[in-house]
Symmetry: C2
């Protein structure tokens, strides 16, 4: 897959529907066939919600082609002294 028909959406703390719209918009533009949602921490649930809502309600021929989990080290927040380990998740959705 070339970079031209693949895209990444970073999922944060907005409502799932914001990311559903971003997915639909990306997949509607040009010949994009694949999109990867990246999330960490609590946003992992939002990423799963966005993927599921898009598949079930809007783009029925969208498949979950890959899911990966991992861990990243985040710098300490203000007032903290130690860095934190945060879980990450990537969900790749592919259009048939």
């Amino acid at each position: 897959m070339t970079q031209n028909n693949s895209d990444v959406i970073f999922v944060g703390n907005k409502p799932p529907m914001s990311y559903v719209l971003a997915i639909i918009t990306s997949l509607s533009a040009g010949n994009l066939k694949e999109i990867t949602l990246k999330a960490r921490g609590q946003a992992i649930t939002t990423a799963v919600d966005a993927a599921e809502i898009t598949r079930n309600r809007f783009i029925k021929d969208l498949k979950v082609s890959k899911i990966a989990i991992g861990t990243v080290e985040m710098p300490p927040r203000e007032g903290e002294t130690k860095s934190r380990m945060v879980s990450t998740m990537e969900i790749t959705l592919t259009k048939k």
Copy 2:
């Protein structure tokens, strides 16, 4: 936490470390080689955390062999009239 004699752990709203201990306990008992974490809603993040903490800190030869996401319909909560769609996730960990 609900845990039966099989290789499934249901992840709820306890801290991730509770489930890490459940995973380690299950895998230490007998010749169990595989365990599946099941979670829904906000507990999805906890399931990812538990899997990652177990792999990174405790059982280094544990592999994520399968991840699946889905949706279930939940009955309405008290005071609500409509059922809700809730995201689910299953993470299968396999010991080499």
